[in-house]
Point group: C2
Chain length 450, copies 2
């Protein structure tokens, strides 16, 4: 391949694992080269070059995605890594906005805005490693979505390059904007298939001044849900209601090499509430307690205990990976009222060959991370039966009014399930939208569209 | 025209003003007929019939829009009024969602959800008349957008009929959902140009248990803005910060035939804060006061005073209409930090022929309602100069990093300004999206697209 017109952009042609893989179970192919542009203009040059040479591009941030959206799917593809575009361009206290390049690590944004009394809520578990560009591409969520919504609820300005090489700049520091179709909304969550995003403006909220947290042990998932729904209809919106069953807790304890923080219960919820005064947050927490029949609460009232509990929550996935020899992580979402029933239905998918299925995650918004675990199953049985188990997980999600993805996106691992959820006409509309802006199919081919 | 296949759907062919007009300055043409479907299936039959006969359709709710989006632009068009599809289908307390038909009046939704401790925040001034379908079509806002966002932040499920007659059903009672391109987001705010929406699911929040309100008089718009931005960076997010200058207040007082509620000031802000406890809301209001240098606060602590002040705010537009002989209302949005400068720049647009320009509205989110008033100008001068004044209003919005529409949409009155804001390629993308789902141009022709 000729790189003459883009040779001035820094690039590499040899890679270690983390340069090319993500956190899905799919292995990346070796790309021809990965470019590391530093400016919008360099990104545009790369896309124009790809259109001229009919090259295939895939765009990457930190590679923390879990559906293969940022990997190389064929050996002749070219990568665009945006990790060197990592400047915070403008933190505007008057307008309560921040404008950043896509390669900025999410936790840097949290720190920068909180230092001036502002708040950017989305908090995926990978917040210390993931980039904001990846968050926008996947429309990332996190525990605080319950109270504060997901990435798309904060994106108010985007600059970038459409797949055909045209630059765009939409929105800005605007809290409202209804001129024409919502192209910012269309781009957010489009998984790198429509454009390369080079600048992002996020709206910010005031930082909550008082936070209180507790972990509560419940006798059943239903009891935990009753506490949540009663709370919601009495004026209290917790900032998190993270859910796990005993099996998840013990796996995480073993992985983290920690002593239990409380007695053993069938189900746990990590509650966080926030507000302006101590009275306010105490009142919220007392409401939750009053609806938590027979539950035991442990206040997470020291930094140490808070860090330990949240560490246990974040290590569930790694803990289950240690328990099982291999695992797949799926990411379904259902109406919160169906969570207890779906958790039970998932357990019926355990396969006699030695495959186990376990759900945990965000009780507050119905987003369940489903782990399919290779326990005693042989390699052959795992290969043979696990795809069917995954398909049944999707079928359960849809049967209970849900979606095949809550916050991880479609990428390559879930695209075969899109027809379960969408009609041919729906898929045709999505494909045609892709064709409008990317007639040659340059950007992220083989992702999202089945 | 042959109506055989749709004759069973109730319809009318004679109309009074309110059947066909909206609140814009554009007069509707007389449509051939308006149909009043009662079901999704009847809507689909109408759209299929239109595709077969190449008829043009426009869809209406209550006709409270201000940009001509719901009017008939040519005499051979057929209307679809959704006002008879006005059932609340499901109020789900466990999932904190409500599912409604498009013809439900917004205030009915407010009442229904608040009766069970839940809350649907969007609150355009027309809330006692406008329909939720129109709100979704225009992505309506309102004063509470400052704290709680706009309509699109609450739409999580849509059922309807694409312009080519295909039915769709996206989302549901889901708080997260990232499967494929965000078609719900694309439809919300698409102004009836892409689909007829027949069922809407909204997510709800807990109802705030304590509310406090005050109107404050400031020595200048800058002083009001300083209070707002200092407040935002100290952890307090008011639910409203509605702004008007003295001229607006006096016009509204005259129109409402009311005595002043407080002494005269150059600028007023109506502050509302909400929370869980009296201490909490008092603390928030005290923060606002502490940053309001030289301002005078009047607590709106009785229902009577609250209703009077909000009545004055909602009557500003009618008050100015009474002061002037004619007026145009525009709806720009700028970064909040630019509001004081933009308010000043708007005043420089006063035209020596006797045209005055005045901005007021939502300080908290930068959304300024600009009124162009025919004062002493002759009819000829008004016709001659007002279009140029409107164009300069748009130019100011864009110069200060803003948008030509904050919450009213584009319709017919603003489509000529779309090229000021979007490149040819941007407009091409929007037009192509329209063509994908409406190849024959059946739905709302002549709206939104320039």
């Amino acid at each position: 391949m000729e790189f003459d017109s883009i040779n001035h952009i820094s690039s590499r042609s040899e890679f270690v694992n983390e340069d090319i893989n993500d956190h899905s179970s799919v292995n990346s192919e070796q790309p021809s080269r990965i470019f590391y542009p530093k400016t919008h203009e360099e990104c545009q040059q790369l896309v124009i070059w790809a259109n001229q040479t009919n090259a295939s591009l895939f765009t990457r941030g930190a590679g923390t995605g879990t559906t293969g959206g940022a990997i190389c799917t064929k050996g002749d593809q070219i990568g665009i890594s945006l990790v060197h575009m990592n400047n915070i361009l403008d933190l505007d206290q008057i307008n309560a906005t921040i404008t950043v390049e896509p390669g900025v690590i999410l936790s840097r944004i949290h720190q920068a805005v909180e230092a001036v009394g502002l708040f950017y809520p989305p908090d995926p578990a990978s917040l210390n490693r993931c980039t904001i560009g990846g968050n926008v591409a996947e429309n990332a969520g996190g525990p605080r979505a319950l109270k504060y919504g997901v990435t798309k609820d904060y994106v108010i300005g985007l600059k970038g390059v459409w797949a055909n090489g045209e630059s765009f700049e939409y929105g800005g520091k605007l809290k409202k904007n209804v001129a024409g179709y919502d192209l910012i909304g269309l781009l957010t969550g489009s998984e790198g298939t429509l454009a390369v995003i080079t600048e992002i403006t996020l709206k910010l909220r005031p930082k909550p001044t008082v936070i209180a947290e507790a972990i509560a042990g419940y006798k059943s998932t239903e009891d935990a849900l009753i506490a949540l729904t009663n709370t919601l209809t009495r004026g209290v919106l917790p900032s998190t209601a993270e859910f796990m069953v005993e099996r998840c807790m013990s796996a995480s304890l073993a992985y983290s090499n920690e002593a239990p923080v409380m007695a053993s219960f069938p189900a746990y919820v990590i509650w966080q509430v926030d507000g302006q005064t101590v009275e306010d947050v105490n009142k919220q927490l007392n409401q939750i307690k009053s609806f938590s029949k027979g539950a035991t609460f442990l206040m997470m009232d020291t930094d140490d205990l808070s860090n330990r509990v949240w560490g246990l929550r974040r290590n569930v996935s790694l803990g289950l990976k240690q328990v099982a020899k291999k695992k797949y992580s799926e990411d379904i979402v259902v109406p919160i009222g169906n969570v207890p029933e779906v958790i039970k239905r998932l357990e019926t998918l355990n396969h006699p060959s030695g495959i186990e299925v376990l759900g945990y995650g965000h009780l507050g918004d119905g987003n369940i991370h489903v782990n399919i675990l290779k326990m005693s199953a042989s390699e052959d049985d795992w290969e043979r039966f696990s795809p069917d188990v995954i398909e049944q997980v999707m079928a359960i999600a849809l049967k209970y009014g849900g979606s095949i993805s809550g916050e991880h996106g479609i990428g390559v691992t879930k695209k075969q399930f899109m027809p379960l959820m969408f009609s041919n006409h729906d898929l045709h509309i999505m494909k045609q939208i892709k064709t409008i802006v990317d007639p040659l199919g340059i950007l992220n081919p083989g992702k999202l569209h089945p």
